[in-house]
């Protein structure tokens, strides 16, 4: 595999929010006692008047974000995905029902908080956020793309949920990359045997699987979906018409996540491609390093190779 520099995508969150807040005085950041884990403690130090530590009270914090948005502010609620998303569905639904301009960041996507065990794994967040009317769901990959996605999210008007990896990811984007919401990105294209399509926090495995397949003589494409909702239908349909196999790779349950989203977008359409999934199969995982969990539960380059066939 080609050598890339590696970094932790979530570590860019605080820096980027500080940068945006210099010009955008309506940004406020909300935390549920996880400001160090999520890298927003530096925002707290830089802008103490615009940082709100609300304690281990996620439901109330989400609705407080709704209150800020109702008064014209742009609240960014940052917590581990299982907290900012998993603990707050009814409150998030009400935010979406009102169409409020609330930004939600869920760090430690998928099984990235591996050692804490299945109770801390966020393997259903795509599923439960994308079903909410009016919600936009983003899944950027490396640190530079996460920074660009935060900027795009703040500029966009309406509720947005963004999941961010805690595990190290190869840095494949430049610092000046952009994040057009709703557009997938074809990262590599060597032919039409297969396409590996992934959500951001599965970048490492997707890239490894793609490169392994190519090293074994297959020709294919590597596509970062980036936006789960609205899905880039045009890109997905073109892929489905041009390759033999699409392998959908996600650090998430295969139920309701990216695989489901892509299958839904192709339903009723006669296509060339067979669609296969690589992700977690309707199961709770266990404690362990994220790497070990991903390998044991099927999120790996080897599984991608098997799916390509």
């Amino acid at each position: 595999m080609k050598h890339y520099p590696y970094s932790v995508p979530k570590d860019v969150i605080g820096h980027k929010l500080i940068e945006i807040a210099r010009d955008n005085h309506n940004i406020v950041v909300l935390s549920s006692d996880v400001s160090i884990s999520t890298n927003v403690e530096m925002f707290h130090k830089e802008y103490p008047d615009r940082f709100f530590e609300l304690g281990i009270a996620e439901q109330s914090t989400m609705s407080i974000a709704g209150g800020f948005a109702s008064e014209g502010f742009v609240p960014v609620y940052v917590a581990l995905a299982i907290f900012s998303n998993g603990m707050t569905w009814a409150q998030t639904r009400q935010v979406c029902n009102a169409g409020l301009n609330v930004k939600i960041i869920g760090t430690h996507a998928g099984v990235d908080d591996g050692q804490d065990g299945s109770g801390h794994h966020a393997t259903e967040d795509i599923a439960i956020s994308r079903v909410l009317p009016g919600m936009t769901v983003l899944a950027p990959s490396d640190k530079n793309e996460v920074a660009a996605a935060i900027e795009a999210m703040v500029k966009y008007t309406g509720p947005v949920y963004m999941r961010v990896a805690r595990e190290e990811q190869p840095v494949i984007h430049s610092e000046n990359c952009t994040f057009p919401i709703g557009k997938a990105e074809v990262l590599k294209d060597t032919g039409d045997d297969f396409a590996v399509v992934f959500e951001g926090s599965a970048l490492k495995q997707a890239l490894e699987g793609f490169e392994l397949a190519c090293s074994r003589g297959k020709k294919g494409k590597l596509v970062s979906v980036r936006t789960i909702k609205p899905i880039d239908r045009e890109c997905i349909h073109e892929l489905a018409d041009s390759v033999d196999t699409i392998v959908v790779v996600e650090n998430h349950s295969v139920l309701g996540g990216l695989y489901s989203t892509i299958c839904e977008s192709l339903a009723g359409k006669r296509t060339r491609a067979v669609i296969k999934s690589v992700g977690f199969c309707d199961t709770f995982a266990e404690s362990g390093s994220p790497k070990d969990i991903k390998e044991k539960y099927g999120l790996s380059a080897e599984q991608i190779i098997k799916a390509i066939g």
Binding site: Q59, I64, F68, E71
Partner: protein, 277 residues
């Protein structure tokens, strides 16, 4: 806050009485709705609409009806203020109506919050109170919750948060009518000693008869000059107030009167209206 001169309490009572008739009509002609909790809350809501919330201003005090099922009381007052037309009241809860079954920002932005799930309104109030302080605004945020709504855990999260941050521009009104959906709050899960609990959470607590315009006015205006703590008014009320066979009767939490009951309620309101005038 609205600039008001001397308060005409008799006039407030007449308006609240008219609002009661509108609540009855909305639920009867709409064929659905929560009449008991609207009738308990309507005096406070009428007072706030007439004397406090300046709905004509963009930047203003906010009123969040967290017990959003009591929204007929708010629609009635907004009708009195001229924001809802006469014919609209009978469209309550019907398709294509602005008058949704719970407050809804899309359909009626003046209601200030979208509700439907109990327990969330006080947290919205906390967020708005923070925001108003950031704006250096002197506006207040009023939130009304039901006493049964206090069973929601999120309420206690917000009580802690507001107390910790000493949000003295936040005024919580608890419509203490004593009944949940059909039975006494105290029989379901006790919330007493309520005042002691709220004070322990850092709140400045007052108790009033929520059907007395004089007491409502005295309490709300008195709290304006008190600082350093969020404020709570425990508003003691009667569920179904004003229609005798609905009063303190859990059956009328959510029930639509039949024709006979509707006529009896109208007649009772007509007679009590003459007394009020």
């Amino acid at each position: 806050m609205k600039a008001t001169g001397a308060i005409d309490f008799d006039n407030l009572r007449v308006i609240a009485h008219d609002n009661r008739k509108k609540i009855l009509d909305m639920v009867y002609f709409g064929g659905s709705g929560h009449i008991g909790g609207a009738l308990s809350a309507v005096d406070v809501i009428t007072y706030l609409g007439e004397c406090v919330i300046d709905y004509d201003s963009e930047e203003r005090d906010k009123f969040l009806l967290s017990k959003g099922h009591a929204v007929p009381a708010l629609y009635a007052e907004l009708h009195h203020l001229g924001y809802i037309e006469d014919g609209e009241l009978q469209t309550f809860r019907k398709i294509n109506s602005r008058l949704q079954g719970h407050t809804n920002l899309h359909h009626m932005p003046l209601t200030d919050i979208t509700t439907g799930l109990l327990g969330q309104g006080l947290s919205y109030g906390v967020g708005m109170a923070f925001a108003k302080k950031l704006k250096n605004s002197r506006d207040h945020v009023f939130v009304m919750i039901g006493d049964g709504e206090m069973h929601e855990g999120q309420i206690w999260e917000a009580l802690m948060q507001a107390g910790h941050y000493k949000l003295d521009n936040l005024i919580l009104i608890i419509d203490r009518n004593g009944l949940c959906s059909h039975q006494p709050v105290e029989n379901v899960i006790s919330i007493e000693p309520l005042r002691t609990r709220l004070e322990a959470f850092g709140w400045n607590v007052k108790e009033i008869n929520g059907h007395s315009m004089e007491e409502i006015h005295s309490c709300v205006s008195g709290l304006n000059s008190q600082f350093g703590k969020p404020k709570c008014i425990i508003s003691h009320t009667v569920k179904g107030k004003g229609i005798s066979f609905m009063e303190n009767n859990g059956k009328w939490h959510r029930n639509v009167p039949n024709e006979e009951e509707y006529k009896a309620a109208c007649e009772e309101l007509r007679l009590s209206g003459e007394e009020t005038i």
